[in-house]
Structure formats: structure tokens, C-alpha cells
């Protein structure tokens, strides 16, 4: 982290010099990218992007505009999030050169960089004077999701963080406040602990304002559930490994408590909530059927009902506009949960053009537009996004929303990122879903811990110990 920060500081000075020598009329990083990219007019860039709503950005906004500005066509290859890593690595292994620009989840950067799939970006950054603008990216993303062993491989481009949304109209209701205090002995407010969270979900399920209303629902589907485990496990004091022996410790009492806690909470969630994915949770939330829920930042925008909802027609129209409060999850240290960095494929035949598109997308002014797109999923990740008066005025509570995201960007917990992270996540996910399916939580986590140990042995205990050491040295690996 320190090394990256140092590079950033040094780079800022370089960038200033470069900016000073840039041609007139090309002062911003976005403008410089456009000017430099014009030499590649007529090229087509193949870019990977998460399938679904995420891809609306390059398909409907940034891609067409870039082509208009530079003459470079953008071909968007949509890939489901749980196949992005596999596809990226498989194409690299086969040296197909199928992709130029890659969307990568930062936790995968160590594996992809070690595999040689990613092009180092430092030279491009210096050549096109981008270091100064990198300094504006919120530290938790910039210092943790950009570089691997001192080399920059990705431009952090998405401020993913799991925050809580709650119905401030219900939480602020005097009758509910009195009844809740009478039942639980403390004030009704966004929960500071997961025990309080359970009380709140119980209260609102038992005192539902209308039929079909439940205290909460949270994302429980495979592929995402491990993020919630990683967050709650660390917030409650858990550590993934014994740092000396590298033996897995996810099956500790804390780990078992997390899974058993979830199972207990399902009693106060809609029937079948243990299989709910993000869309089910979102549907119930926007329909006004939940008191509190956790998600990435987009529901903050969708709940407010601003923007063009035509592309979002598959989710119900928001019935909660103006009724939503934002909070960090219990413990105050939210999981950053995925996020995306823009990386250049080492197999690309158009590396510089691909980098320039990334710089333009990621630049201060273009990214500010992108994170305000109501139909896409890119979330604020720059200090200038959080403090943008334009964004703060998008809806009445937008300032509170941005403040919560900014707070999350300060205390947010990094996703586990070591060698072969994907294998550990897959194993953990299976253990959790097995417990949801009726297996004993302790036995399921014991099996997962054994599998984690085997994965570690396969990677090499010393190699993994070094990777884990690098990771825990980052300030946001565990709660401060």
C-alpha cells in the first residue's frame, strides 16, 4: 500500500509536468485520452463487461460516445460475473487475444497478474499523464484495488460497498419507536450489531405494517453469499487463517456463529429467503415489503426513483421514494464486495488504444457522468464523486447517500485476495449453502476448512503465507 501511495505521489508530480506540456485544449485526462486515441481510429476494441445492467454503460453511453469522439468502435462482450474470471484466464491461457480491455474484480488481480494475463499500466499512465487523477480515487479503492506488488494492473472503476437501506419512515414512527423500546429495551435505530439487526427484523415481522411485509431479506445466493460471510465474520472478530501455519480458521466459533445467526434470522425473512439473490431482495425492497436490507449502492438511486426506468422495467416501480435511510452495516465496516477495475489484456493487439479508453472512462469528468447513470451499476468511487454538488442534488437524500458511501469507502473491508481466491470462495459458498440446506453449520464449515487447507497445500504454504501476509498488511483487510 505504502509503495503504491508513494508511486501515486511521485506520479502526481510527473502528471503535472506532463499536463503542463500537453497540447492546448487537451488539459484534462479525458481530453488527453481522446486526442491520443484518434491515431487508432477505425480500430475495434473488444471489451469484457459484466452481463446485464452493468453493460448498459458501454452499450448505451460510453461506447457510442467514445466512437463518436475517436472513431474507435467498442464491441462489448457481456459475461456473467461468476464466469468473468474463468473466461479471462481461459482466453489468456489459449492466447486468443480475444479481448483488449478487461473488467476484473480486484480480488482476482493477484491471480491474473501472476498468470501474466494483465498488462502493467504504469508506463501508459505516465505517458498519458493520468497519475494526478488517480489521487482523487477514494483511498480504499486506490490503494488496495489497483496494484499488485507495486505495479499497477487496473484502474479502480466501481465503488462497490455493501451498505444497509432502512425505512426511515417506519424507524422514525413514534408508535414503532415506543413499541420497539418496550419490547427490546433500547431505541429503534439502524443496528450497530447483528444481534440488534435480528431484533429489528423480528420486531417488524411481528408488527408488519401490511401483509407480505417482513423485517428484512438479505442476499443469500451462491456466488455472492461469501461476501456477506467475509464481512460479518471479520466484524465479529474472525480471521480467515492462522497467519503462522496458514491453517484455515473459518470453522471457528465465530464462523459457525455467523452461519447459525443467518439461519436464525431467516425466521424473520420472507419464505424461501435462504435462496434469494439480489433481484429478489431488490424486488421486495422497492415494493415496500422490507424494513431493512443490505445491498450494493444502486438501490439508493433506484429507491429514489430518479432517471429513466425503461431498462429497469423488470423491477417494480419504487414505492419507497423519500422513505429511505442509509447506514453502514452492523460493525461499521462494510464489505467492499467485488467492485471492478479496468485492466488491459496482455494478449491484446491494441493495448494502448484499450488503455486510453480505460483512462477516458475512468477520468474525473467521464466517471462522474457514469456513476450517475440510473440504468447502470457503476458506483461512486472518487472523492470528487462523493462531494459533487451535481450528484448531491439528484434527489432530496442524495447527500446522505453519498456521505454513507464515502464513510464505507473509509472503513470498507477488502475482499479476501490471495492466490487461488476463487477456489476458497467456492468452497466457502458450498459450506454455507449446505448449512442452509439442513447440514450442521459446524460440520459444513469443518469440511470447508479442510478443503481450504488442501487448497493452501496445493498452492504451497509458504507462497500462500506470503500472499496472505501482503493482504493483511493492507489497512482494510481486517477492521481497525
Amino acid at each position: 500500500m505504502k509503495k503504491t501511495a508513494l508511486f501515486t505521489a511521485l506520479g502526481s508530480a510527473t502528471a503535472l509536468l506532463l499536463a503542463a506540456s500537453a497540447p492546448a485544449g487537451a488539459q484534462s485526462a479525458a481530453d488527453r485520452a481522446v486526442e491520443a486515441a484518434k491515431q487508432f481510429a477505425g480500430t475495434t476494441l473488444n471489451i469484457t463487461w459484466e452481463a446485464g445492467l452493468q453493460a448498459n454503460d458501454p452499450l448505451n453511453f460510453s461506447g457510442p460516445r467514445w466512437e463518436e469522439l475517436t472513431g474507435i468502435k467498442i464491441n462489448v462482450v457481456e459475461v456473467p460475473i461468476n464466469e468473468l474470471f474463468t473466461k479471462t484466464l481461459a482466453e489468456h491461457r489459449a492466447s486468443t487475444g480475444a479481448f483488449d480491455l478487461l473488467n476484473v474484480v480486484p480480488a482476482w488481480i493477484p491471480d491474473l497478474a501472476e498468470a501474466g494475463a494483465l498488462e502493467p499500466l504504469d508506463d501508459f499512465i505516465d505517458k498519458h499523464g493520468y497519475r494526478e487523477e488517480l489521487a482523487d480515487i477514494a483511498p480504499v479503492y486506490r490503494d488496495n484495488q489497483m496494484a499488485y506488488r507495486g505495479t499497477i494492473y487496473g484502474l479502480p472503476d466501481d465503488g462497490d460497498v455493501l451498505i444497509m437501506y432502512y425505512r426511515k419512515d417506519l424507524f422514525g414512527d413514534a408508535a414503532h419507536q415506543a413499541a420497539f423500546k418496550g419490547q427490546f429495551g433500547y431505541d429503534l435505530a439502524p443496528p450497530d450489531t447483528w444481534a440488534q439487526f435480528k431484533d429489528i427484523t423480528q420486531y417488524f415481522t411481528e408488527n408488519r405494517p401490511h401483509d407480505g411485509f417482513y423485517g428484512s431479506a438479505m442476499i443469500r445466493s451462491p456466488g455472492l453469499i461469501h461476501y456477506y460471510f467475509e464481512e460479518r465474520f471479520r466484524v465479529e472478530g474472525g480471521e480467515f487463517f492462522d497467519a503462522e501455519t496458514m491453517k484455515a480458521t473459518i470453522n471457528s466459533d465465530i464462523g459457525v456463529g455467523v452461519v447459525e445467526g443467518w439461519i436464525a434470522e431467516h425466521e424473520f425473512m420472507p419464505p424461501g429467503a435462504e435462496a434469494w439473490g439480489p433481484i429478489e431482495v431488490l424486488n421486495a425492497w422497492l415494493a415496500g415489503d422490507l424494513a431493512i436490507m443490505g445491498w450494493w449502492p444502486p438501490p439508493g438511486r433506484w429507491s429514489a426513483g430518479y432517471g429513466d426506468f425503461e431498462i429497469l422495467s423488470f423491477v417494480p416501480e419504487s414505492k419507497v421514494a423519500g422513505k429511505v435511510g442509509y447506514a453502514l452495516p452492523p460493525g461499521g465496516a462494510p464489505q467492499l464486495a467485488a467492485g471492478f477495475s479496468l485492466a488491459v489484456s496482455s494478449d491484446s493487439k491494441n493495448k494502448e488504444a484499450a488503455y486510453l479508453f480505460a483512462q477516458w472512462l475512468n477520468s474525473r469528468e467521464v466517471s462522474l457522468e457514469r456513476v450517475q447513470l440510473p440504468f447502470a451499476l457503476r458506483d461512486p468511487f472518487r472523492t470528487s464523486h462523493f462531494e459533487s454538488p451535481e450528484y448531491q442534488n439528484l434527489w432530496p437524500d442524495a447527500k446522505d447517500y453519498l456521505a454513507t458511501l464515502q464513510a464505507g469507502a473509509e472503513t470498507g473491508l477488502l475482499d479476501l485476495s490471495i492466490r487461488n481466491t476463487f477456489a476458497y470462495e467456492e468452497s466457502l459458498t458450498r459450506a454455507i449453502t449446505a448449512a442452509f440446506g439442513g447440514d450442521d453449520a459446524k460440520e459444513a464449515l469443518d469440511r470447508a476448512a479442510e478443503e481450504w487447507d488442501r487448497i493452501t497445500d496445493r498452492v504451497g504454504v509458504e507462497e500462500q503465507k506470503r500472499a496472505y501476509g501482503d493482504w493483511i498488511a493492507k489497512p482494510n483487510a481486517y477492521p481497525n
Binding site: P271, G272, R419, F422, A435, D439, V459
Partner: protein, 300 residues
């Protein structure tokens, strides 16, 4: 008159003798390219150590084959696959045969029913799986709705999560999709049974059951054997429906050999280990197919 005689040259005679081989050469080369080469490549890779972390192409002996015998999860997946095959195959056979027998008799609108019945078979299995996932949705799916009407109260079954329901859900989807395949082939076979033999047996007073087992079944046996073989192989490779419905979960409860191999090969990037699995499976299934075909030949 051959080209060789017409030209009278040495090359002409050579070409004439080998003309038939030249004709099949492109097909043989394509077969080698798409069939034999990948198989040999799998064999070679299975003796190397290629994974996400390592790309060591040197010879590692039986490293990956030893691992096959120590991975409990693999054996559990094989067990799931075998049991599922043993349960699904007879059910598909019985349902398919009953439907075929029913359709042997003249029915009004027979062609329309036939067209409707084969629809599941022409749907992509992954689409069928995704559709069944929606059908089994505990909140909006019609299955729970119908069960709820029958029970007179909401039915809270979570088909793709709860222990006792995940396999039945997969079984229902699989039978729904592939029974029509069994039905179609058996209908064709039953249609070709010599009617005069059946009529003669009826005149002699043989019961329907006796006619079926003594005349009809022997007549359709070769087709039956081939149909069972094809479906058994398909079931042994069961992937799409399981992946779309449960992804092998909860935990590894519905993991089959194919989903396990997919996870190892394309999620954990254990390329050499997965190659070893693939090689062993191909060899085992080849033996089963050869033996089965030999039995069919004997039966004929």
C-alpha cells in the same frame, strides 16, 4: 472404365487402387482432428501438472490419477450420478413405453399430441433447467401454488435448497425433458412389430401381458437396448439441468460427475486433474458402450 486404365500411367494405376481411400481421407482426418487429437491431448495433460497456479508440462507420473482415488467429493459425485441414472432411467423407460403403447391406438388429434409431446426434447437442456427453476420458485412458481391449492394452505417447500426436495426437483425436470425421446423411439419400434403375430396370439387366447412379454418385447429389444444406452450415457453426463437448478448444491448434495468436473476444470482451473477425470470417464464409458453394443449384436 477407370481413370487409371484410361490414362494407362503408373500413377493412374496407383490412384485407381487407392481411390476409395482418398475419398474417405478427409473424413478420417476430420475425425482424427476433432476426436482423437483432443483425447490424446487430454491423456498427455493428465500426466502433467497444469492448474491456475502451476503450468508445469513435465511428466508427473500418476500424480493426478492418485488424486482421483483420494478425493471423497469425486466419489460422492460419481455415486450421485450412478444412483440418479439408476432411478431416472427406469422411470423414463416406463413412462416412455406406456405413452408409446397408448399412442399405438388411433387417437383423435394424435399428430397434435405428438408434436406437443416432443417439445421438451427439442428445448436446450440449460433453458429447460432455467425454466424449471422458475417453476420451482417457492414464491412465484406454479408448483408450490398448485400444491398449495391442493393442500388448502401455502406450501413452503424451497425445492432448490431443502435436503429432501433437491433431487426430486432435478428428477422431475429430467424426466419431463427426456421421456418424450424415449417415447418417440419406442413408438417407432412398436409400430414395426408384426401385427399378424399379435393377432394370432390374441386368437389363441394369450393375455395382453403374455403377448407383450413374448412377442412385443423381443421385437423391440434391439431398439430398446440402443435407447437405454443413449439415455444412460446422457444421464451419466448429466450437467445442464443440475447446473441451472442447483449448481450442485446445497453444498455438494446434487453434485454429479459432470458438475464436479466443471467446477474443477473451469472454476478451480485444475486442468491436469480434470483431464485425468475425463480420461478415466471416457475409457470406462467406452468399455460400457462396447459391451452393451456387443450384447445388442448378440440379441439380434
Amino acid at each position: 472404365m477407370s481413370v487409371a486404365v484410361a490414362s494407362g500411367g503408373g500413377f493412374g494405376r496407383w490412384a485407381d487402387r487407392r481411390f476409395k481411400y482418398l475419398l474417405i481421407l478427409p473424413a478420417v482426418l476430420i475425425l482424427l482432428l476433432v476426436g482423437v487429437f483432443p483425447f490424446i491431448n487430454i491423456l498427455i495433460v493428465s500426466f502433467q501438472d497444469i492448474s491456475l497456479i502451476f503450468e508445469d508440462r513435465s511428466f508427473h507420473g500418476l500424480l493426478n490419477y492418485k488424486r482421483l482415488f483420494t478425493e471423497a467429493r469425486l466419489w460422492q459425485a460419481i455415486l450421485h450420478t450412478v444412483i440418479f441414472t439408476l432411478v431416472a432411467l427406469p422411470l423414463e423407460l416406463v413412462f416412455g413405453l406406456l405413452m408409446a403403447l397408448l399412442f399405438l391406438e388411433p387417437i383423435r388429434g394424435r399428430q397434435v399430441f405428438l408434436a406437443l409431446l416432443i417439445i421438451p426434447t427439442v428445448i436446450s437442456p440449460i433453458v429447460a433447467g432455467a425454466t424449471w427453476r422458475l417453476m420451482f420458485d417457492n414464491q412465484f412458481g406454479p408448483i408450490n401454488q398448485i400444491l398449495g391449492w391442493a393442500a388448502g394452505e401455502p406450501v413452503p417447500i424451497i425445492w432448490i435448497v431443502q435436503k429432501g426436495f433437491v433431487w426430486p426437483a432435478i428428477l422431475i425436470a429430467e424426466i419431463w425433458q427426456w421421456t418424450p425421446f424415449m417415447f418417440l423411439l419406442l413408438l417407432a419400434a412398436l409400430s414395426n412389430v408384426d401385427k399378424s403375430q399379435v393377432e394370432a396370439a390374441q386368437i389363441d387366447g394369450a393375455s395382453n401381458l403374455r403377448i407383450f412379454f413374448r412377442i412385443v418385447l423381443p421385437a423391440i429389444k434391439p431398439v430398446l437396448a440402443i435407447v437405454l444406452l443413449i439415455r444412460a450415457l446422457d444421464l451419466f453426463r448429466l450437467f445442464d439441468v443440475v447446473w441451472a437448478l442447483t449448481q450442485g448444491g446445497p453444498g455438494t448434495r446434487t453434485e454429479t460427475l459432470s458438475t464436479y468436473a466443471y467446477v474443477q476444470g473451469f472454476q478451480q482451473f485444475e486442468t491436469s486433474y480434470t483431464s485425468a477425470i475425463a480420461f478415466v470417464v471416457v475409457v470406462l464409458l467406452s468399455i460400457v458402450v462396447v459391451l452393451a453394443l456387443r450384447r445388442v449384436e448378440i440379441a439380434r
